[in-house]
Symmetry: C2
Subunit: 423 residues, 2 copies
């Protein structure tokens, strides 16, 4: 059930008052996350950008842990991304250091030196080498990290390392997120139960290819390095790379999957249930990012079927999901199928037989045979669009391929959040 909407945004120039909300759509904060044997976490309020909030997180990975990661494809990747890629190519990581407040992006050579200095300090606190630490930053682009405060706080973070700090970490990595995001799953079938726990942050600049999001997922299954990387790529493609908030891809995104092997359960014993559980964790986290999108009042699934190729299906789904005209109509609860059809027509790869196309909004057929469905009544569409969760199902009637994208609406609150001066 949807939490009560909290804030009335009264627009005096508007003919209607609109309700906005600072709450995520249908998303409750996690209350429990299962520890993963082999992973200890320390979080601390280092005063990086504002005093008194958790903003620095240290992960300690037990020896023998294997780590896979995917990073932003943005050509202006941030300094920590460059350093993390470099370190990951060298030796298995023993630690992660994550700060919020500043993204350490657009900071040039000095930024890379800052990221390396963070790794060095984290390594000293963890008792490993700097090259065994991966750095992650999220926050404002363009300003240097306040490394004096970060370096001073890292020993304190190390002093509170514990296995049961996942909830704290889900909070400590937040930026404009309004709800901490975390999911645990237990996989049975081996000699011991295996745990998967993941946390994520991100609520804007979200788009496939690792948008402004950080996700850290760990398991105590025993997974060979090559398989771990394959599993991560496979699951990211149908979770984090299937969401869009505003079409922007950040400079800092990363998704990390760690397998500590501490359960002693080899993956091949539980491969299929593990894959299903990993997918559930990543899909849940990805959807949570969209549910908590900046200013979101709706959670929207755009599903395209009947396309001639998978690429066409994805292009059409993204065209609808990204269209500001569609997104403002979603915000207004307006069953404006014309805008959806127009967005689809712009993105379709070849000419379409409009008589074969159909469109359903939360099950209500609004368009078929090249025109508004004859039995469609506007009241039905309005009622369907009043829900917080909207399912747009477009069948192109041209082939057998499909795609699915999750997105949010475009509200006054989005403009307010992103239109305010940086403070």
């Amino acid at each position: 059930m949807r939490p009560v909407r909290a804030v009335l945004v009264k627009n005096t120039s508007s003919v209607t008052d609109v309700w906005s909300s600072a709450m995520a759509v249908g998303l409750e904060p996690a209350t429990e996350l299962a520890p993963v044997p082999g992973i200890r976490i320390g979080t601390i309020a280092a005063g990086i950008r504002r005093p008194g909030r958790l903003d620095l997180t240290l992960f300690e990975l037990a020896p023998g842990s294997r780590t896979a990661a995917v990073f932003t494809r943005n050509q202006f990747c941030a300094a920590p991304v460059t350093v993390a890629r470099h370190h990951l190519a060298g030796m298995p990581p023993r630690g992660l250091v994550i700060n919020t407040g500043y993204a350490n992006a657009g900071t040039g050579d000095a930024g890379e030196e800052d990221a390396v200095a963070c790794c060095r300090a984290a390594a000293a606190a963890l008792g490993c080498r700097a090259e065994e630490v991966l750095p992650f930053s999220t926050g404002i682009i363009g300003a240097r990290l306040p490394n004096d405060r970060i370096l001073a706080a890292l020993p304190q973070a190390a002093s509170v390392l514990a296995e049961d700090h996942w909830l704290d970490a889900s909070r400590a990595i937040m930026t404009t997120d309004t709800v901490p995001k975390g999911i645990s799953r237990v996989v049975r079938g081996g000699v011991m139960p295996v745990t998967i726990t993941g946390i994520a942050k991100g609520s804007g600049m979200i788009e496939p290819n690792m948008a402004t999001m950080l996700a850290f997922i760990a398991t105590d299954a025993d997974i060979p390095q090559a398989l771990l990387q394959d599993l991560l790529k496979e699951v990211v493609a149908v979770s984090f790379n299937q969401i869009t908030v505003d079409g922007d891809t950040s400079t800092n995104d990363a998704c990390v999957l760690i397998a500590t092997g501490r359960s002693g359960v080899p993956l091949k014993a539980i491969l299929e249930p593990f894959r299903t559980a990993l997918h559930a964790v990543c899909e849940g986290l990805a959807q949570a990012l969209v549910r908590d999108a900046e200013g979101a009042t709706k959670f929207v699934t755009v599903e395209v079927s009947g396309a001639r190729t998978g690429d066409e299906a994805r292009d059409v789904a993204y065209a609808i999901a990204r269209s500001p005209l569609v997104k403002t109509a979603l915000f207004a609860g307006d069953p404006n199928w014309g805008r959806m059809i127009a967005a689809a027509g712009r993105a379709a790869h070849k000419s379409l037989d409009t008589h074969a196309v159909s469109l359903r909004l939360n099950g209500v057929c609004v368009f078929r045979d090249g025109a508004m469905a004859p039995d469609y009544r506007e009241e039905e569409g309005v009622a369907a669009m009043r829900l917080d969760e909207i399912h747009i199902l477009l069948n192109l009637g041209a082939g057998r391929h499909g795609a699915r994208v999750w997105t949010s609406d475009l509200s006054h609150e989005y403009v307010r959040i992103n239109g305010e001066y940086r403070t």
Copy 2:
């Protein structure tokens, strides 16, 4: 000079009040448009969607006129686009019929019959064949045309045909436009002066490949058909196809160029000055569409240089121009170069040497050598962004290609205009 901003949008949940404006950015309505010998225009208030406003326009083209046109590439093109393409392929047009209020898109076979019926009625009023009339519609998608009212009004529109009705027509084709858009140029150098007059409408769903815009341009130069079509394509590529408001491409767009030949001046005598003048008319109309974009408070030129290919330059320019994060920052007057750099990095085709990249906002260098420019002061950026016209100049430092795109900002007013229920 900028017109005074008219409307205070007070957002009670916001920490700051923001000014919005229903006025176009730096755009005054045309007060005079030159007649084009061989073109007569009649406009009328047919009560198509609302009573008492000009909403139906009839063009009469003198015998011997040649007509070139480009249409939307949206695969769900509207019925009038289908009919106009078909008629244009058959015989030289003698008339145009243009209605606002309803787009006649997503209306299936019945919509095509309605468009043909309009042509038939216009032809009867003009004394030509239905196949010699091109139909154009703009407005709400998905509803049938009120053809009883349109057919009844066409004889009246024909009864007021006159050469000096261009200003009325610029008003009669408006939908959400706040300012009528029209430009005239006179080209000298032949035995007689030659006139070019154009009008256009459109303020949302605007994106290259003929977004929700209609443009009608006419000249009395004598231009062979093939050259006319080439000139139109050439000039559209660097005017109407160089703008974006919200990334959406409409189902109905069309740009028409008519040469009546009535001046008796063959084009080859004045080819270069004519091309320059035609470009000025189309560039001015295209910029007018952006200046009057829904909710726009800024007119923004995004210029990319130093790209490796023209495609890369265009992709980067459009990524910046379409980014909701960039557009909300522009609305706020925030010199948020990080968002611009991030958008560029997402769109660049290959890896970039960030040390070679530079970014200027209205001449103020904010980024170079891979980081914020050392001599940049935030006050300078804020002052630059306070202007109504913003020039974003990004040099990728990787090649010799460039591109330029005009766009607007993303304001509360945009969300309001597009988030209100259809009425």
